[in-house]
């Protein structure tokens, strides 16, 4: 049986995210225990819960960084396991770790990201994106010298290069100053207006006030009240 079986195909096709009974185990510990969730295109969902409640695991499952142990789901109608590569085409994850190369410059990190998505490494686009995240003057600076806030900005810039239809943000406000928070919120608003779905795992949903359509609580790997 397909992992996504048991759900209405119509629902899977119209939802940006449709997961049913999704669970993930690490060794003996269940990080996520049968979560079902639907997110519509253009909807912004805040995922809240204590540390270890399964927020990051759920985002990583949706980004296809992990395979579900049980259950399954779709992103824009595409199966998370069987069509993982097509899901990756549509998904962008800003995780806890910036995922940058410390001995490459800011521009080189973005050039690498463009080349890995099969696109031409256009210097003008890279310069524009770096300017947009406030790193215009740091183009040729190696990432090793960046503060954690600057690294998060650069990781965000990587998402700007290829704006995703499903934006997954894990604690996006961490390490950011007021400008950085505004930058993240601006990106969320822009993606929502473009019809993308956004899931924000955060301890600070009030920082995205006015943008969040729905709040989902996770407790011990399950959906809370």
């Amino acid at each position: 049986m397909s992992p996504a079986a048991g759900r209405s195909p119509a629902r899977a096709a119209t939802s940006a995210v449709a997961v049913e009974g999704i669970a993930r185990r690490f060794g003996r510990r269940w990080a996520l225990r049968g979560v079902s969730l639907d997110v519509a295109p253009g909807e912004v969902v805040a995922l809240v819960g204590r540390n270890g409640s399964g927020k990051t695991t759920l985002l990583r499952l949706l980004a296809t960084a992990l395979r579900p142990t049980l259950g399954g789901g779709t992103v824009f109608g595409l199966d998370l396991v069987r069509e993982a590569d097509a899901v990756r085409e549509r998904t962008g994850l800003l995780g806890h770790a910036p995922g940058l190369y410390q001995d490459l410059t800011a521009a080189e990190n973005l050039r690498f990201a463009l080349r890995m998505t099969g696109e031409r490494a256009d210097g003008a686009i890279i310069a524009r994106v770096l300017e947009a995240v406030g790193l215009g003057s740091e183009t040729a600076t190696r990432v090793r010298g960046f503060s954690s806030g600057m690294q998060r900005r650069l990781a965000l810039a990587r998402l700007f290069l290829r704006p995703p239809r499903l934006l997954l943000l894990d604690e996006p406000f961490a390490s950011f100053d007021a400008d950085g928070i505004e930058l993240v919120n601006g990106f969320i608003a822009e993606r929502r207006a473009a019809g993308a779905a956004v899931i924000v795992a955060t301890h600070d949903p009030e920082k995205a006030i006015g943008l969040i359509d729905r709040t989902v609580r996770l407790e011990h790997g399950r959906l809370g009240p």
């Binding site: 960084a65 995922g99 410390q102 001995d103 690498f112 080349r115 998505t117 990587r158």
Partner: protein, 229 residues
Amino acid sequence: MTTLRRELARAGAVAWKDLTTERRTKATFNSVVFLAALTLLLFGFALGPDAEALRGAAAGVLWLTVLFSGVLAFNQSYQLELEGGAFETLLLYPGDRRAIFVGKLAANLVFVLLVLLLIVPMAAILFNLPLLRPFPGLAGVFALGTFGFVTLGTFYAAMASRVRAREVLLPLLLFPMLVPLLVGAVAATRALLAGDVMGDAGSWMRLLGAYDLIFFVASLLAFEYIVED
């Protein structure tokens, strides 16, 4: 852009990234060359001053030196990815994940060949080896042996990369698999250094070629599964 060209471009990007980082830090290159030189010297001391004994053991010593020092490079190749969670980001780019393997393989190949360029002349001086006459054959043996070694090293380093004791695990996984390659490469190198009077270097090189082909295809097919979390 066709799919193959796109994936080759992605592999090229991975190789460029790894080599650029190494060129800037030189952290791995310096330590690998130093370890290789030290290993050659220690083998020289252990074998004693007998010129015949040194020459007879040279092929084995040289290949063992390449193997021991190369392992350091493979570990470092993935260490770069683990820093700052870059490996997960790398795996989340859409496209065939085998491009990542090919890119890392290419970068490691360039790296180990550069190390060889330094340590082979060093071994020739220490062990008084006649390199010029058998050079074309030796170049072929080094190319085939290095390709097989780097293919398996890159593959097993990916497998060991998420394990805490990866520095220990990698040689434990890798070295037993390298026995046929080591036997073939040492035999071919020894035969060529001795003038290949029996003409058996060719058969050892064919063995190396077959080994390379089998393990390259197998690693390419299995890479997707070993990086899956």
